[in-house]
Structures are given as C-alpha cells and as structure tokens.
Symmetry: C2
C-alpha cells in the first residue's frame, strides 16, 4: 500500500478515477510497481483513499483494458509483464505568439463580400428546415446530394448557359478543394497551363500535388493561345468571364482558338473558372465557354463563396461525361466535403428563386458601389481604370508612380491594397498598378475610403 500515497486533490479538475489511473501508470513507469506484483484490492484502495468502490473499479478497468494490469479470478489484479516507457517529462508546448496585425480602416481586399445583403432571415429559415430532416444526418452521396445537384444544373443551364446534367456535377467545400479533386482525377503526368498573372491558389494546389505547371502570359484577349501551344501543356486554366486579376472578358475569337486547341488532341482540356461571373455591370452576364463546347473538353468550376459569402464553402465542378469514370475510380469513395444541411439549404435557396433574387440585389448594390468608387477615384490625376465591366474588383493604374510606393502608402493610410505584381510569377506587370476590391466596403464609407486612397497616392 506504500505505493498509494497518492493524495487525490479536489483542486485537480480531472475526475478521481482518472487521477488514480494516471497515478498507477506513473508508478509503473517509474518502476515502483513491477511485473507480477499484486495490486492492493479494490476495497483496500477505497478505504485507504476514501473514495468509492466504483471509482477504483473504473480505474482498474481502464488499466486492465489497456493491458497494464490483469485480473486473476478470485485473487485480484497483478502488474503485467509489458515493456513500460520510462517516465517522461511532459512540458506543455509554448503558447503561440499572438498576431498583432491591426484591422484596416477600409477593406479593399478582393475576397470580401457585403454582409448587409446576406439573406439572414431566409437562410436561417431554410437551415432550420434542413436541420429538422433526420435523413440528412446520414452519410450522403460522394458527389453531393442528387437534389442539390439537380437544382444546380438547372440554375447553371439557365443563368450561365452551362450544358450539363446532375450526374456530371461534383460539389465540394471550396474551389481549392475541387482543384485538389481535379488534380487527382486527371492523369498525374498532365501538364497544367495557368494564367500569368492569375489566381495564386491554383498554382499552390497543383504544386502541392507535385504537378507540372507552365505559366502562360496574357494579352488583351486573355490567355495567349500561341504561348499555350508552345508550352506543351495539355490542361489550361482560364477565367474567361472576368480574368483574375486583370478583369479581361475573353472575346469570342480567343474562346474559339482555345476550344480549337483543346479539340486537336484527345487528352487536352480547358478548365473554366467562372468565379465571379454573376456580377456584370454594363451587359448581362456572358454565357460560359462550357456551353460553346460540344460538352467533352471544358471542365467548368464555380462557387457560392463570391455570390453569397466566403464562409459558404459550396463550390461545384462540372465534369465532361468522359471524365466521370476516372472520377468514380479515383475519388468516388470519399464522402462529400460539404455539409448536407448546407447542401439542402442551398438547394431550397435555388429552387425557390431566392438565389436569383439575392443575385439581383447584390449586383445592384455592387454596381452602385463600383460607380461611386470610380467617380471618387476619377478625381485622382492620371488615374486609369481597367477590368471594371464585371466582378468585384478592378485595376487602378497611376502612371509614373511606383507600385511598392502605392502599396506602402495605402497600407499606412489604413486602406491596404495589393500590387498587381503579387499575382505574377514569370510575368512583368505594369509598374504602377494596384488591385482594388470594393465588395467589402460599405456604400456609405466609399467617399472616405476613396479620399484615403487619394490622399495616400497624391
């Protein structure tokens, strides 16, 4: 009983059985309890430590289940002959350093949305309906629930001119995740062409999979078809509706050239990232390139993260039917990464017309914001604007000013912006251009936000 000098401490937050359990393990590790040695009877421990019999039973039961001790019928518990690890000190790991980045006064980031336009009431109502459906608790389909995919296919056909059926759609938690899926579905020896400047996460995902990547320069029509051909790549990523970050709308001629390129060789594909096509100001949204294709060369991807909110992780990928077998074989085992509650909420949002209403409201609001911001910035001498016909960001160029200076001045004014060069890998961008997102600015703060930039850049 000498080994049980343990004092059970009321101040210790752990339950008594766990204190006892851990104490005995410590004794084993320290060699103070040796193999074959008999442990004190449960009753003796109760009396000695003034604890209940069930507490001792729990601790002995755990030790026995883990093989530290074993029971001999009508005799008691004995220490097993097992290699024990020497006692180790367990220093708590150091606390992480706190990040001290101050919040900016004005949000010119390209990833934000206006939280004022989010349909809180209808979203909450549809979520509650979803949560009350017990069927949605079980594991769903790998590609996403059929009803959600059907609603999505109907929406994409009507609003984006995408020709697809539900069985071609895979929904998942975010564009980056779907790029992950894509990198695994296409043969590993594929060579990927990316727009330069372009969307950085695509490069990162492909590189983290060890895939071969070629950076392709752009001209005024978007990805250069001649350079694509020279690169030897067989999968080309494009953002034809609103190139990220330059804002170019790819003209029909270039679309035709790229589609023709894809059709020349069996294993060539275009990946059309339609990330913010919902918002177009001068004209109606331009139909997706996927709809121009015969249906077997364009892989179409889109997301609700820009059109509803970044925290809504739902994104979708439309496979040409010829890639479905490879998807099934390589990724068909994984459960969907998207919550079924969120899938059902989005499905109802689409089916009841709430999503198209939300898009109209959002587009009107973003149009107003963009116009106001452009007016305010037009007072900046020499300012040139590009890429403003669509989307939630545009480019501001101030000839003669240095990009690094613009970025530093904006940050100092509490209105941080990104320089265009951040999106370049091999390309040499214009020297005096920054990227301005406006969705995260409140309409009423735009005059002050623009004034802050004007002051900073003067």
């Amino acid at each position: 009983m000498d080994n049980f000098t343990l004092k059970l401490q009321a101040s210790d937050k752990r339950p008594l059985y766990e204190q006892l359990y851990r104490h005995i393990i410590t004794e084993l590790e320290a060699g103070r309890l040796r193999p074959g040695e008999k442990l004190p009877s449960k009753r003796a421990v109760c009396v000695h430590l003034k604890i209940s019999q069930s507490t001792v039973e729990t601790a002995y039961g755990m030790l026995s289940a883990e093989g530290y001790i074993y029971a001999r019928p009508k005799s008691g518990y004995y220490v097993s002959n097992i290699p024990v690890r020497p006692a180790r000190s367990h220093p708590l790991p150091p606390a992480p350093a706190k990040s001290e980045t101050p919040l900016p006064r004005f949000d010119f980031s390209t990833g934000a949305v206006d939280t004022g336009v989010f349909p809180y009431a209808s979203w909450a109502r549809l979520s509650r309906e979803a949560i009350s459906n017990p069927q949605l608790l079980q594991r769903g389909e790998a590609q996403g629930d059929l009803g959600f995919r059907q609603a999505l296919a109907a929406f994409l056909r009507e609003y984006r001119g995408v020709r697809c059926q539900a069985d071609q759609i895979v929904v998942g938690a975010g564009l980056e995740y779907l790029l992950n899926v894509l990198a695994q579905v296409l043969p590993w020896e594929s060579v990927y062409a990316l727009e330069d400047p372009g969307y950085r996460a695509a490069w990162q995902v492909l590189r983290s999979h060890g895939r071969q990547v070629r950076m392709i320069p752009l001209d005024n029509s978007g990805l250069r078809a001649d350079k694509l051909r020279e690169s030897g790549a067989n999968v080309a990523f494009v953002t034809p509706s609103h190139q990220f970050p330059l804002g170019i709308t790819m003209p029909a001629g270039r679309r035709a050239q790229l589609l023709a390129w894809s059709e020349e060789v069996e294993n060539r594909f275009l990946v059309e990232d339609d990330y913010d096509s919902e918002f177009r100001y001068a004209t109606r949204p331009i139909p997706a390139m996927q709809g121009l294709d015969g249906g077997d060369k364009v892989i179409y991807i889109g997301t609700f993260s820009r059109s509803i909110a970044p925290s809504i992780r739902a994104a979708y990928l439309v496979f040409p039917r010829r890639l479905l077998a490879a998807y099934q074989e390589r990724m068909g085992f994984a459960a969907s990464t998207l919550s079924r509650f969120e899938q059902q909420t989005l499905r109802a949002f689409l089916e009841r017309g709430l999503y198209s209403r939300h898009l109209r409201r959002s587009a009107n609001l973003y149009r107003k914001k963009q116009q106001l911001l452009l007016e305010e910035l037009s007072q900046l001498p020499g300012a040139e604007i590009a890429g403003a016909q669509a989307g939630l960001h545009f480019l501001l160029t101030l000839p003669g000013k240095d990009e690094a200076w613009l970025v530093a001045r904006a940050a100092a004014a509490g209105a941080p912006v990104r320089g265009l060069s951040e999106y370049c890998r091999d390309c040499i961008p214009p020297k005096s251009t920054v990227v301005l997102g406006f969705a995260g600015l409140k309409l009423e703060e735009i005059p002050q936000a623009a004034a802050a930039l004007r002051d900073a850049f003067s």
Copy 2:
C-alpha cells in the same frame, strides 16, 4: 434583315435577349453573317421582331462584350473579323441510369448513427445564432476559427488526454480531406504503413496521391511492431482505441513499442485515428496515445461524424508542433473547408457542455443497443463475438460457415452485412466472420433485425 427570320418563342423558357443573342451567334457560325457586315439597327430589330429596345440593347451589348460584333460611333454595329467555330450539333448528354438498389430492411452498416438522439432543437438554436453573426460571412482562418480550435483543444485535453493547443489543430471537412492534407504536408517520399485489415479510405487517399503504402498485419494487440520495422515505412497509421474493423484495444505494451519505434528516427511518425473512441462500454474511454507521447511524434485525428452525425463533416487533425511550418508552407494558403456557421455551432455546442451531454446520451443508447443485439445473437449456435468493448460495430464469427454465404444470406434477408475480408488487402482473414454495425438500428427493431440474421445464418 433576312437574317432575322428568327421567331422568338414564348414557349422557349430563355429570356428574349438570350434567344436573340444565341440566334445571332448561330448565324455567325453558319457563315450567314460575315466579317465586316453591318447588323440591322437596334430600332429596326425592335420593330421587326416586336420586342423592346432594351432587349436588343442587351443582346448587342453581350455580343459586343464578347467581341462577336463591334460598334462604330454614329454608324452602328458590325460583325468582327474573328475565327468563328463551325456550327456544332449540341446533343444533350444522355440521362444517367437510375440506380435501383432497394433500401435494406435493417441497417447493419458501420457508418450510420441513431438519428433519434441528434439534438435537433439545440443544434437549430445554435445554428441560428451563428447565422445571425455577420462576421462569420467573411473568409475565416485556414486552420479553422481560433475560438472553435480553442474549444476543441480544451475538449480533447479533458476527454481524450490529448496534449495540444489551438495552434496545432487544423479542422476540415471530413477525415478523408484531412488525410489529403496530411499526405501533402509530410514529405512526398514518405512511406506509409497501414493496418491490414483496416480503414479502406486511408489506402485510397494515399494511393490517389501516388504515395508508397505498406500493408502491415495485426496480432491480438493490433499493428505488429516487428512487421512495421521490417516494412521500411516511416509513417504508421493506427486505431489504438478500437481498431477498425477488428475492434482491438491496443494494450499499453504495444503502444510503448510503437512510440519507441517512432522515436528512433527523426522522420518517423504515428498517425492516431481516434475515430470512435467516444463510445466505450465496459470502462471509461481510454486516453489517446498522443498524450503518452512527448508531443512530437503522434499526429492525432478525430471526427464528429461518428459522435454527432455523418453529415456533420467536421474533423480535426492535431499536428506535432514541428510539422506546423511544413503545414503553413504547403497548405496554409487554402481557406478552411468547413463552413464557419458549422464551426461556430460546434464551438457553442462544446463550450456550453451540450456535446458532453450528447455523448453521454448517445453512449447510453448505444450500450443498450449493443447489449440487446449481443443477447439476441447469443442464441445463434456457436456464435463468437469480438471487438465489442467499444465503438459502434463488432465482429460476429460463425465457425464452419463460409463468409460469402453469410453475406449473401444476410443480403437476401434484407439485412446486408460486410464480410471481414472486404477490409483486407494482403491479409487472409478468418473465413467465417462478418462486421455488424448497430448504431443505425432502432432499439425497438433490434429483436427483429437479430431474428432476421439468425434465420439467415441457420
């Protein structure tokens, strides 16, 4: 105007501007409108087709934005000189075949949960609170929101003996997704050891990443340390709390051996998959192996999919601090795959003690189900049960019966079960063993479900 013999059809669901837009593209593709040719004026089209001027403006605007046509000031619109694609027929892809698998009468699958115990009311209330928080609409932290990770770290410390802090945790949408992350964070040349029989998705994820995998046989204590050593692998996956599918609780001796193995060489790691450790019947849950470690050799993963519901995608990975830099570099750019609403709902569920209450209620229910099912099956002559001390499934062996026969008979009786051999890759399993999950069976239907199996197996 001959080219505009288009009849706009009210029966066509597409808006009028889109019908006009598509008609003109068809004319271009067919060569009936040629480069340089002047288009009819907007006004002429309005009158001819009896549609509003804004409809024509919209269609012309889209065509112009895409470069099909261009405007000359004070003159009108002209067809651009662009390569047009020949007109293609666009057959709608064939409809997918409908799957006709009948629903089983009794659900013995290992992935189901009891939907009756789901806390609908409190989940709906916490979700509504989350949805009404505008901050949660913006993009969150890549690893998951700090508050959620802090609540999770506290829970894991208290309930699972896991020693970690919030900065070591990455939350994501499902175990498979986190295995994806892990495969990208560890060096690509790592060699992975998997339990055989074991969790099939781990093999699939690693193979889809092209990683080297070694299958390691088990003995009564779980993964064989000698075979692990021989395999040359440097990352070993284990399920020490309740081996999947055998149900073995790894004894302390084997844990010590595996930890010692991991410590011999710098780049060796253990991945502890604690997938259903919350449910333990004979004793309290046994603390995780991660807590025995000094904190730098065990990568701990767990999920809410078993403890709450499969459709709740939240899973978590606890990195040793020495792997955090590699995580940041290779995966730190990606937004979390988990909805922030769901993160916040789970955070509140943890912080307000609702999760531990839910676990107690669930464990009591599952204990009852398991006891009842075991009692009912004990009437089967010769039946042997294994792995029933924890988790939501166990093994049933009927010596002398053939596994394929058992599986076929159960399926015919509307109570499909899996044979143990389905979980083997290289191993040769016992010939007469099936895996029975019981969480998805209602308590009151267990007598009938067991009777169906008894009849089928007699």
